[in-house]
């Protein structure tokens, strides 16, 4: 009981801090919006069979919109360490695993706020979404986000400084996004690019969301769902271990 309360407390703190710092939300919306406007607009002449490029791109951007903010949420651990607050959490009578879960859920929730904003743009862009696929998309974003938040938290538990966290984060985020099949159809890509993309767990998230929103995907939905679920569970488990091992 007290563990759940501890998780909730840590979760709540992440939400309050996120809410107080709205500039973070605004600035992190810029990147997915740019993708939508620049790529969507610039390649509007491209057609993939019966669908135009903008329709193809949109679900991909929805999926990758949670990537940056999810991984970046790990930075809160480094801030907390820097400002001493981490000690307050570490001497509390709750387990390290609970601390990890609270942080992960908090990061995931903040990423979802952003994801839902991007998802809602479908009504402006003119891509019709049923309530059903709207809800399923949110669920899929949550899965992707939990996995990536865990990655961020694992990195944060391993590095000491804000600078090195930032470097590692950028090093991960860009390949993850560009090699995810968000911007190009996998079955049309050259073989080497397809192979690299298939190693990227985010690809399956993109494919699953694309299937949910526009009913089109290069990978069967059930396979995508299985892989991103497995990925999230694995990283959560690793994160829990990484946190409880720290002393």
């Amino acid at each position: 009981m007290s563990e759940i309360e501890g998780i909730y407390t840590i979760f709540l703190r992440e939400i309050i801090r996120f809410w107080r710092d709205k500039s973070r939300l605004v600035s992190s919306l810029v990147q997915p919006l740019l993708f939508l406007i620049v790529f969507g607009g610039g390649f509007s002449f491209v057609r993939l069979g019966s669908i135009n490029y903008q329709t193809f791109l949109f679900p991909g951007v929805v999926a990758i919109s949670v990537v940056g903010i999810s991984i970046a949420s790990g930075v809160s651990v480094i801030w907390d360490r820097e400002f001493g607050f981490l000690k307050e959490i570490l001497v509390a009578p709750i387990s390290r695993t609970s601390i990890f879960i609270g942080k992960a859920l908090g990061g995931c929730a903040t990423a979802l706020v952003q994801g839902i904003i991007i998802l809602s743009l479908s009504f402006i862009i003119g891509i019709p979404i049923t309530l059903n696929s709207f809800v399923v998309s949110i669920f899929l974003m949550a899965l992707i986000s939990l996995g990536l938040v865990s990655v961020g938290l694992i990195i944060a538990s391993l590095v000491e400084t804000l600078e090195s966290f930032g470097m590692i984060m950028n090093f991960i985020i860009f390949p993850l996004i560009f090699l995810s099949g968000a911007f190009f159809p996998l079955q049309e890509a050259p073989e080497w690019l397809r192979i690299i993309s298939l190693v990227n767990p985010l690809t399956y998230g993109v494919e699953a969301i694309r299937y949910t929103i526009i009913g089109f995907s290069s990978i069967p939905f059930s396979l995508s769902l299985t892989i991103i679920t497995a990925f999230s569970f694995a990283t959560i488990l690793l994160g829990g271990i990484a946190f409880s091992r720290q002393k």
Binding site: S2, R13, F83, G84, K87, E88, A92, P93, Q246
Partner: protein
């Protein structure tokens, strides 16, 4: 009853002994001070007692619970104010306290009343809804003390509670500490390298140096255990005066250096007039006379052979790495 008891507690960092075979007994309800210079091992000792560091050997019991085997029970029994601030600056004072109540599982229906109570105790009730980043250093420290009390701990650890505060704020904090010790009926274990602080606050003091406890007693007893008061005189003919003074029986120790004479006596106020009388009779000119009561500084000097101000050679980087826990 002993609320904190350590048994040959030892911590080594890469071969460097930070805490060496410390066996201490702290009684319930007392304010106990660990007095020593920076690098003496005080923070390391406290970190072990609050389960942030695992001892290399030996163990300790806090509120009857073992610090290695019963970490969660120990954590519920203690409140901690760290040397460096551990508040969330982007939350308000009240929010920081609410978080703490949540982390420690304080019953929901009690929370608000308890938070108000501790806020009033440290005089922050009116400012509780401001962001902590706008607080002064003294306010932050008071908020941390309040936070450490929310879950009704048995023992409150204060690691250098007035470090970096100006003298006036320091005295305020002392008052709050005394007040809470009275009202909350709590045991307080504080570390400090300020003599006055140990003297003003502590029922008992342990002098710590190089990871070892040199002596433990009340500040009074410690000061009395020294030879006594010091009288220093400057005279024009010390040789002659020295001979005459050897006849005064209550002088314990006498030492002359050129024209300066240092005397150790039990009761300086009573003896000083006699000495001046003796000088007048022998036509010796006294240029100056001073009387000094022994402080904890003299006690520290006596037991460690050096002044507390002299730092132990240890880089700040090393201390930082040591205090890093995750």
């Amino acid at each position: 009853m002993n609320i904190v008891e350590t048994f040959k507690l030892t911590k080594k960092f890469n071969g460097l002994v930070a805490v060496n075979n410390v066996s201490l007994k702290i009684k319930e309800g007392e304010i106990f001070g660990l007095l020593g210079p920076n690098g003496a091992g005080k923070t390391t000792l406290i970190s072990m007692l609050c389960t942030l560091l695992r001892p290399t050997s030996g163990t300790a019991k806090v509120n009857g619970f073992d610090i290695v085997k019963q970490q969660n029970e120990v954590r519920k029994s203690i409140g901690i104010v760290f040397q460096e601030s551990s508040l969330d600056n982007r939350l308000t004072g009240r929010e920081n306290l609410k978080m703490h109540a949540g982390l420690y599982g304080v019953p929901k229906n009690e929370r608000k009343r308890r938070i108000d109570e501790v806020l009033k105790l440290v005089g922050l009730y009116e400012r509780a809804n401001e962001l902590v980043k706008n607080y002064s250093g003294g306010m932050k420290r008071r908020l941390e003390i309040a936070r450490g009390l929310i879950h009704y701990p048995k023992v409150l650890f204060l690691d250098e509670p007035t470090l970096g505060l100006d003298p006036q704020t320091r005295e305020h904090i002392w008052e709050y500490i005394k007040k809470l010790a009275e009202r909350e009926r709590i045991t307080i274990l504080l570390t400090t390298h300020y003599m006055e602080e140990a003297d003003a606050l502590c029922d008992r003091v342990a002098i710590m140096d190089h990871g070892e406890i040199k002596v433990v007693d009340t500040p009074e007893n410690l000061k009395n255990s020294l030879e006594g008061d010091a009288i220093t005189l400057e005279v024009n003919n010390s040789k002659k005066f020295l001979e005459r003074m050897r006849k005064i029986k209550s002088i314990k120790k006498i030492h002359a250096e050129e024209n300066k004479i240092s005397i150790t006596v039990k009761n300086a106020e009573k003896l000083a007039p006699k000495i001046l009388e003796l000088a007048r009779k022998n036509k010796i000119l006294v240029n100056s006379i001073s009387i000094r009561k022994p402080g904890l500084g003299d006690v520290f000097l006596h037991y460690t052979g050096r002044e507390i101000g002299e730092e132990i050679g240890e880089s700040k980087e090393m201390l930082k790495r040591r205090s890093r826990v995750l």
